[in-house]
């Protein structure tokens, strides 16, 4: 019998451009930024720092000068730990896996309180230079990269295939970006908050056809600290908290494309991980009040909404255009503004999903509050959703 994991506190940096150029007179330093958030998150949780047993960090970007960042932070915070201290890496799933590392120490009884935390600073490096590294993460270095594939080019090919198979359109897909910006306009920590129209989205310069600038993620800096606790600690705090009710993971054993031709846009990993998470939670997609999906591009949100059972196959884009995934709709998706508008500091992006769920399930989301939100879903991925990590989360008041 494993212990139940809860999220009891959270603090997050407003997503944006924080990293200065190397020759700026002062620098925004990752450890100072994160330490501030640790203090804030622990105050939010109402837990004494001496109760912390474990620290699970997302790996910082290679541009972070301070290496061995996790052990440096244990020193900076003067925080002895008898559970574990680790830095986790797994591409876009990095923060999801760090959340899992912290959760596992609680499940196994090694920790009563565990922090899942990290910082992703990268905006001082140009996109063209950053892609020299990121292109080697989303493809075979010798058999894909020499042709010029970029991380989001794979999602663009998902979009082309989706439009082809389901008679969808760029306009339908682009409506997701409009919806996400509207949500971000209500989120104080979102990177881009000025509402946009469908016409504006369609008029942006192409990035990876058919997707334009507003349909792909921006470059972003961010930092988050989450306080995870076993349920007895959460209950004793007498504060509202979030319970991890179900969890599913699946890696399909393929990277970007499956060498045996399959239905690339079915997102088999998201389907499988989602089913496992719903089964463990004992709930169905229809029971869910909102979902915070890891979706770098508009098309990905559509495909994941279908894979997780929030929309029938081929109907996700239409459903988004008709407002069903907008605040007030049948199943609000990415109420934070999603990766396009809340921003995408990739190695901590899944942490931001949990931050949004904490706001929503504790009924602190202000103007973007989903009425009576009780059950929520998050997802994280790597590759072209070749792997997926899905959580079902429940409000406890």
């Amino acid at each position: 019998m494993s212990n139940t994991v809860t999220i009891l506190g959270a603090a997050a940096l407003k997503v944006g451009k924080w990293q200065g150029s190397a020759d700026a007179p002062t620098q925004a330093l990752e450890h100072e930024t994160l330490a501030n958030l640790v203090v804030d998150a622990m105050r939010d949780a109402g837990v004494d720092r001496r109760e912390i047993n474990s620290l699970a960090f997302s790996l910082p970007r290679p541009y972070t000068q301070q290496k061995y960042f996790g052990t440096f932070m244990a020193n900076y915070l003067r925080l002895p730990c008898d559970g574990s201290v680790s830095e986790i890496m797994g591409n876009g799933m990095t923060a999801g896996l760090a959340f899992e590392a912290a959760s596992n120490d609680i499940r196994l009884g090694r920790s009563k309180v565990a922090l899942a935390l990290g910082v992703n600073f990268e905006t001082a490096i140009s996109a063209a230079e950053h892609m020299m590294s990121s292109m080697r993460t989303t493809g075979d270095v010798d058999f894909h990269v020499p042709f010029g594939f970029t991380p989001i080019s794979w999602y663009a090919m998902d979009a082309a295939r989706y439009i082809h198979e389901f008679k969808s359109s760029r306009e339908e897909l682009a409506s997701v970006a409009v919806k996400n910006r509207m949500h971000a306009s209500l989120n104080p920590i979102a990177q881009f908050r000025k509402p946009i129209t469908l016409e504006e989205v369609l008029a942006q310069p192409p990035i990876v056809e058919p997707l334009g600038l507003y349909e792909v993620p921006p470059r972003s800096d961010g930092a988050v600290c989450l306080v995870l606790a076993e349920e007895a600690v959460a209950r004793a705090s007498r504060r509202p908290y979030v319970r991890v009710k179900g969890r599913g993971f699946f890696h399909e054993g393929a990277h970007q494309i499956n060498e045996v031709p399959n239905d690339m846009i079915a997102l088999i990993a998201a389907q499988t991980a989602g089913r496992a998470a719903f089964a463990e939670a004992g709930v169905a997609p229809d029971d869910i009040d909102l979902a915070e999906i890891y979706a770098p591009c508009t098309i990905v949100e559509v495909l994941v909404s279908e894979a997780l059972g929030f929309a029938p196959r081929g109907h996700g884009a239409r459903m988004a255009r008709e407002g069903e995934t907008t605040l007030g709709g049948r199943i609000p998706i990415c109420t934070s503004g999603g990766l396009q508008s809340r921003g995408h500091p990739a190695y901590v992006t899944p942490f931001y999903s949990f931050v949004e769920i904490m706001d929503q399930l504790r009924h602190r989301a202000g103007e973007r509050q989903v009425a009576d939100a009780r059950l929520a879903v998050t997802s994280a991925e790597l590759g072209n959703y070749n792997a997926a990590l899905v959580h079902v989360l429940e409000a406890v008041h």
Binding site: A128, E129, H144, G148, M157, P206, N262
Partner: protein
């Protein structure tokens, strides 16, 4: 059978590494042949060529030719390119399902947006420093 060869008077922007194992593939490609490995035990083919069979993990392999024909599964045009590809942008890339039942990703040669599911052929791009392959509509 040999593939159509297009000679290009420039080096590759991001050359693939060649191993003692894959040099057979790249050497054949330079001569217009598109080859991969087949498992001598379970008889399944794989791409890229591998020193073992990913289906049954046998190390008992043979090299076999591929016809170089398939269908275009999807495609895009990359406008925002990594630094080394900047001079080539915008360029078209795509996913091709080969007739032998293998899915590959490669450069797509054509100006107008190609129809998905339409037949394509594989061609050799012979750069001054070595080959790459690409697909173009038939």
């Amino acid at each position: 059978m040999t593939l159509p060869i297009i000679d290009l008077n420039q080096p590759r922007s991001y050359p693939p590494r060649v191993s003692a194992f894959t040099q057979r593939f790249w050497g054949a490609l330079q001569d217009g042949r598109f080859e991969t490995t087949r498992c001598a035990d379970c008889e399944r083919i794989t791409f890229p060529p591998k020193p073992f069979c990913p289906h049954c993990w046998s190390k008992n392999l043979t090299w076999v030719p591929l016809r170089g024909r398939g269908r275009l599964y999807s495609q895009t045009v990359v406008h925002a390119a990594p630094a080394v590809f900047r001079a080539e942008a915008p360029y078209r890339v795509g996913i091709v399902d080969l007739d032998e039942g293998l899915r590959i990703a490669t450069r797509i040669l054509c100006d107008a947006p190609p129809a998905l599911d339409a037949p394509v052929e594989i061609v050799v791009l012979r750069y001054v420093d070595g080959p790459l392959f690409a697909a173009r509509p038939l």
